[in-house]
Amino acid sequence: MADSVIELRNIKKSYDKVAVLEGINLTVERGTMLALLGPNGAGKTTTVKILSTLLKPDSGEVLVNGTNAVQDPNTVRHMIGLTGQYAAVDELLSGRENLIMMGRLYHLGKEKSVARAQELLEQFELTDAADRAVKTYSGGMRRRLDLAASLVATPPIIFLDEPTTGLDPRSRLTMWKIIQDLMKNGATILLTTQYLEEADQLADYIAVLDKGTIIAHGTADELKSKVGKERTEIVIEKNANFDNAKKLFDDAGIKINEEERSISIPTDGSVRAVKSILDKLTNANIEIDSMSVHKPTLDDVFLELTHHS
C-alpha cells in the first residue's frame, strides 16, 4: 500500500449555501509534492484551510499522517506548517522576534527558539534585516519570513498556499529554490498555485481544481499528453514548395494554416523525429523559411480542461 501522508476523501464544503468544494479526493504520498492548480475562486485556499484544521468540512474525511484532522486537530497541528496567501507575521515585531515567538509557541524552549530563529534567518537570507520591524520588509522578504515561521518546528508536512503570488520574478526564483530544498530534506508538501509554470517546475504531481472539483490529476507530463503530442511547425513562403510539403506530410495528422503558410506536424518529441522531417524536406528539395518545435504547456492543458467543463 502506498504511504499516503495527506488524504482527502469526498470533501464537501459550502459557505452560505454556495458550494465551494464539491467532493474533493486527493492523496499526497510521503516525500512528494502535489501542486493544486486552479484559477482564483476554484477552492484552493478552502482545501488548504481544511487540511490545516482551520476549517471543518461539511462532509468527507481528512487524514493527515493517519490522524483524522476533524476529530483530533491538535495532533495534526503538531505535524504541519502552514504558509498562507497573506504573510501571517507580526508587522510590529522584528523578523527575529517573530521567529522566536513561533518557536516558543511550539514549546521549543527559550534557548532552542533563539538558536532556531538564527538558523532560519541565515537559511532564508534574512540576517541583515533580522532586527528590523517586519513592516519595513519588502514583499519577498515578508514571504520568506512567513515561510520560515511555518518551519520553526521542522514540520514533516507543509502546506503552501500560493507562496509566490504577487512576487517579482527574482523573489519567485528564490522562493522556488527554498521550496525545492524543503523537498530535498524529505518534507511532504501540498502547494497551491495559479501559475502553471510553477506547478510544472516544482511538483511531482498536479491536481487541477476548477469550481470545487478536481478535473484532472497526474504528473505534468501525463497532463500534457492529454492535450496532445509535441508538434514541429514549418513555415514555407513559396507556393509550389508549400503545396509539395502538404502532400509530403499528408498522412501524419498535420494542421495547415494557409494564411501563415505554416504546417504543423505531430511528433513524439525526439530529435530523430524532427531530423526525419527535415530529411524528407531535403530529399524532396523543398526549402523552408523557418521551423519551430512546440511542446504543449500546462497553459494548454488548463485551457483545454476548463474549456470543456
Partner: protein
C-alpha cells in the same frame, strides 16, 4: 488520555502560551509609542476641558469639581483604552496571522488573552500619568492606602471586563474601521450617560434612571466614594458583581468566536 497529568500539562502549556502572547502585546506598546501617547493625551485634554471650561458651570454639591471629575475621567479613559483590544484583535484577524496562530497547537483563548492583558498594561500606564496630571490641576483626594488599593483593583477589573467585550467586537467586526465605530457607539453613551461628568440628579427622568442603574455609574460612584468620601451605597458590590459577570460571560464567547473565525 484524559489523565490529570495531561490536564495539568495542558493547563501549564496554556499559561506559557498566554504569557508569550502577553509579552508580544507588551512589545507592541514599546514599538508603537504613538498609540500610547494618543491614548494618554486625549483623556488628559478631556480632563483639562472639563476642569477649566465646563467645570465652573457644573454644580456637584459638596466637593470641588476636579475632585468629583477624576473618578469619571479615569473610567472613561479606561473604557476608551479598552477599545484598543478590539483594534488589536481585529488587526490580527484581518492580517492572516490569526490563521497561523490557529494552525498552532495552542489554546485559542491564549491569543485573545494576550491582547487583553497587554492592553491592561498599556491602560495602567495611561492611568498613572492621568492621576499625576490630576494632582497637578488640583485633585486632592482623602483616600488612604487601602482605599487606593481598592481603586486600583476596581479600575483593573473594569478595564479587563471592557477589554473582553472589545475583543468580542473586534472578532465580530467586518473591518478595522467598523471596529472603531462600534466601540465608539458602545462606550460613548455608557460613559456620558453616567455619573462621570455631572451628578445624575441634573438629568431628565428617563436618562437619569438609566444613568443611575448602569454598571459604569456604579464603578464611577464606587471609585468616587473611595477617593473623596461620597456615599458608597451598594456601588462597590454592584460594580464587582457586574464586571465579574461580564468577564464570566465574555471570556468563553470571545474564545469561541476566535476559534470559529477564519479570515476571508
Amino acid at each position: 488520555m484524559n489523565t490529570s497529568s495531561s490536564f495539568t500539562n495542558r493547563t501549564s502549556n496554556t499559561l506559557t502560551d498566554t504569557w508569550i502572547l502577553i509579552a508580544r502585546s507588551i512589545k507592541h506598546i514599546t514599538k508603537n509609542p504613538d498609540q500610547l501617547l494618543g491614548l494618554t493625551i486625549q483623556p488628559i485634554m478631556f480632563m483639562l476641558l472639563f476642569r477649566y471650561v465646563f467645570g465652573g458651570a457644573i454644580n456637584t454639591g459638596g466637593s470641588t469639581y476636579v475632585n468629583f471629575l477624576v473618578a469619571g475621567i479615569l473610567i472613561q479613559m479606561a473604557a476608551f483604552g479598552a477599545l484598543t483590544t478590539s483594534l488589536s484583535v481585529a488587526t490580527d484577524v484581518r492580517r492572516g496571522i490569526v490563521d497561523r496562530f490557529k494552525s498552532l497547537p495552542i489554546a485559542s483563548f491564549a491569543v485573545v488573552a494576550g491582547h487583553v492583558v497587554g492592553d491592561l498594561v498599556r491602560n495602567t500606564i495611561s492611568a498613572v500619568v492621568m492621576i499625576v496630571v490630576a494632582f497637578l490641576v488640583g485633585f486632592r483626594p482623602n483616600a488612604g492606602v487601602a482605599d487606593w488599593l481598592s481603586i486600583v483593583g476596581l479600575l483593573l477589573l473594569f478595564t479587563f471586563a471592557m477589554s473582553w467585550i472589545a475583543a468580542i467586537m473586534g472578532l465580530l467586526a467586518k473591518s478595522v474601521e467598523a471596529v472603531q465605530w462600534m466601540g465608539f457607539f458602545v462606550v460613548f453613551p455608557l460613559t456620558f450617560a453616567s455619573a462621570a461628568f455631572v451628578p445624575t440628579s441634573s438629568m431628565p427622568t428617563g436618562l437619569r434612571i438609566f444613568a443611575e442603574n448602569q454598571p459604569v455609574t456604579h464603578v464611577i460612584e464606587a471609585m468616587r466614594s473611595l477617593m473623596i468620601g461620597t456615599p458608597m451605597g451598594n456601588h462597590m458590590s454592584m460594580s464587582v458583581i457586574w464586571f465579574t459577570a461580564i468577564i464570566i460571560v465574555a471570556v468563553p464567547i470571545a474564545a469561541k468566536l476566535f476559534r470559529r473565525h477564519v479570515s476571508k
